[in-house]
């Protein structure tokens, strides 16, 4: 506990010395305050090249992701959308030999700076995965509180209860599970499990929420529930969502980015990003138009 705190302080000192707009400014505003002021952080990628070993998977992405907006990333399979998404919270480097070149700035601070602890980066930039993955050994309550409990945050039971309820309500799951919080999470349906995973990710109050095809394992009704949820979550978080479903991108996002590859084996490139409306009605590039109109892909 002490150790992590000290580490965090050192980290902050580093960051503050390095740049004026530090990302880890203590103390965090309380949850209520944040809902009112509601200013999450922006992400800027600068000349980001993403590698698996020697293989360049995504080339030269420079993009600004706006705070408190939903940015959707579309493109055909294998074009690097998920890879790009995972490089935004340093999950990419968990794969053997995977690494990146370039910068990813969270409100101006490079998350790939040598002094940055990837663990602290991931506490600020949460993630929801394609397959719902609640911890099978834990109850619904424990799953929701997992981010706090696993990091051994000292916290009163009442405080923890409040956070769990708030997160589950935030994920539109509270009414369905409030009577069985101590039951295993594996008893929930797929859609409920995914909302539980969203509650779990939001319980640690990240700045940014990355979603990697969060609805591709769900039925249309569960998908609709998640999309409603995304629309509400953007009041509190910056959201980046990867999707294969173009209607979903059109329905749920404010901005849409299109990844493309020339041919198999080439790196993926973010060739166009703009207002969702423009991408789907009047994109500037022919490739984008072909893709969104269903002419290929």
């Amino acid at each position: 506990m002490n150790l992590t705190n000290t580490k965090k302080e050192i980290e902050m000192a580093d960051v503050e010395a390095g740049s004026s707009d530090a990302i880890l400014e203590p103390p965090k505003p309380s949850a209520e305050a944040r809902q009112v002021h509601a200013q999450a952080k922006r992400i800027d990628a600068e000349k980001l090249n993403i590698y698996y070993g020697d293989f360049l998977a995504v080339r030269d992405v420079t993009v600004s992701i706006q705070p408190n907006k939903v940015t959707a990333l579309i493109g055909s399979s294998g074009c690097g959308k998920s890879t790009f998404l995972r490089s935004l919270n340093r999950m990419h480097e968990l794969i053997d030999g995977a690494h990146v070149e370039g910068k990813v700035l969270l409100d101006g601070t490079d998350i790939y700076a040598p002094s940055m602890d990837p663990v602290l980066v991931r506490q600020q930039i949460g993630m929801v995965f394609q397959q719902p993955n609640p911890f099978p050994t834990m109850s619904i309550y424990e799953n929701t509180a997992a981010g706090l409990r696993l990091n051994r945050k000292k916290m009163k039971k009442v405080e923890m209860d409040t956070i769990v309820e708030k997160s589950l309500r935030g994920a539109h799951l509270w009414e369905e599970v409030k009577d069985r919080l101590n039951k295993p999470a594996s008893g929930l349906s797929g859609g409920q499990q995914q909302r539980l995973c969203i509650a779990r990710a939001t319980a640690i109050e990240p700045e940014v929420l990355l979603m990697d095809e969060p609805c591709s394992a769900l039925d249309p009704i569960a998908t609709l529930a998640i999309e409603d949820l995304i629309n509400e979550l953007k009041k509190r978080f910056t959201i980046v969502i990867v999707t294969h479903n173009m209607q979903q991108a059109a329905r749920a996002s404010d901005y849409t980015g299109f990844f493309n590859i020339e041919k198999s084996g080439d790196p993926g490139v973010l060739i166009e990003i703009d207002d969702t409306e423009k991408i789907f009605s009047n994109p500037s590039l022919k490739e984008t138009e072909d893709y969104v109109s269903g002419r290929f892909g």
Partner: protein, 351 residues
């Protein structure tokens, strides 16, 4: 059938045998071979053999006549596999039957509550040996489980490159160590410090730990590997450091499997005789301190009673069988406990 449908021959014969055809054939075959055996005065084993052969032949002929080649072949294969399974069970059942029937004579309260102290012929028991077995195995387990589980965690979660490959290789090598060699290793190790001729309970534990470690590593490795990567990623994405992820997500998920593996490893080494013979020695009285002097244990007890009977030999032989029965009972209980733990606390892992 409408007029346009073309009839396609799907098989060489369209008949089907009644639902319990196999059962009927084998019941008839059992009765027939019972009559033959009784008439010729043959043993029950030969009767079983006849039942199997006649039944197989019967179902083949009947199915071939009614159902055709394809289904007959299917029946022949199913029945043959079933019979081979029964054949494989024969030694096990015969062993259990022999041990139980011969061991029950002395499997009484005196046997379970007294040692061999001052016993010259009849009476006496195996309490000292049972306690010795528990202590020696428990110490071995306490030594082997941390080493084994930590090694498995290293191999699955952290290891890479040459070190990982060489550890995997040496675990394989350790797997193949004959148990007597493990005993000699423990003997030689302690002889360095205490001189030759030393006999201690803990020496036996060291020998058994050497045998247990590779088994524990293998099973724990297997269990850690089936923990879905998605759970690790979920934990990392919550900003949980790797060591906490391993400790609080991966290990709890794999726990039931690891416990089962440990139980099976214990059951595997609890009956080891050779390494204990040269490391723990044997005594007639109860010794509860593994660091002080010889220590009796069940496998060596059984060996001693059977190999060096006094006069008359019967009580010794009976004690040997009762000791063997006790050992089998302990192993069975461990196996059942392992299954129970796996079933009750096992986490359903979706892939």
């Amino acid at each position: 059938m409408s007029g346009s449908a073309v009839s396609v021959p799907l098989g060489d014969n369209s008949g089907v045998l009644p639902r319990r055809a196999t059962l009927i054939v084998f019941a008839a075959s059992a009765i027939a071979s019972a009559l033959i055996s009784l008439a010729l005065g043959l043993s029950p084993f030969v009767w079983l053999l006849f039942t199997g052969l006649i039944g197989l032949a019967g179902i083949t002929v009947w199915s071939l006549a009614v159902e055709g080649r394809r289904r007959a072949l299917d029946r022949v294969m199913s029945v043959a596999i079933m019979e081979v399974f029964v054949l494989a069970m024969v030694p096990l059942l015969s062993l259990i039957y022999t041990v139980v029937s011969k061991g029950l004579a002395r499997f009484d309260s005196e046997f379970l509550t007294s040692s061999m102290r001052g016993v010259l012929a009849e009476g006496g028991g195996a309490l000292h040996a049972a306690l010795g077995t528990f202590i020696i195995t428990a110490v071995a387990t306490v030594a082997a489980v941390p080493v084994g589980v930590l090694a498995a965690i290293y191999l699955v979660e952290y290891g890479k490159g040459r070190l990982k490959r060489s550890i995997t290789f040496f675990v394989d090598v350790m797997m193949g160590i004959p148990s007597i060699v493990a005993g000699l290793f423990a003997f030689a190790l302690f002889a360095i410090f205490f001189g030759p001729g030393i006999r201690l309970g803990v020496m036996g534990s060291v020998a058994l730990a050497v045998l247990m470690i590779p088994i524990v590593i293998r099973s724990a490795e297997e269990m850690l590997r089936v923990v879905p990567n998605a759970l690790r990623e979920a934990s990392y994405a919550l900003g949980v450091p790797k060591w906490l992820t391993v400790l609080r997500v991966v290990l709890p998920t794999a726990l039931a499997g690891i416990v089962t593996g440990v139980m099976l490893a214990v059951a595997r080494v609890i009956g080891e005789t050779a390494p204990l013979l040269i490391t723990t020695g044997s005594t007639t009285s109860t010794n509860l301190n593994p660091f002080d002097g010889r220590m009796a244990n069940l496998p060596v007890y059984v060996y001693q009673q059977y190999k060096f009977p006094g006069v008359p030999p019967e009580p010794y032989i009976e004690r040997a069988w009762a000791g063997a029965l006790l050992l089998i009972v302990i192993v069975m209980v461990l196996f059942l406990a392992a299954r129970l733990i796996a079933r009750r606390y096992g986490v359903e892992i979706r892939r």
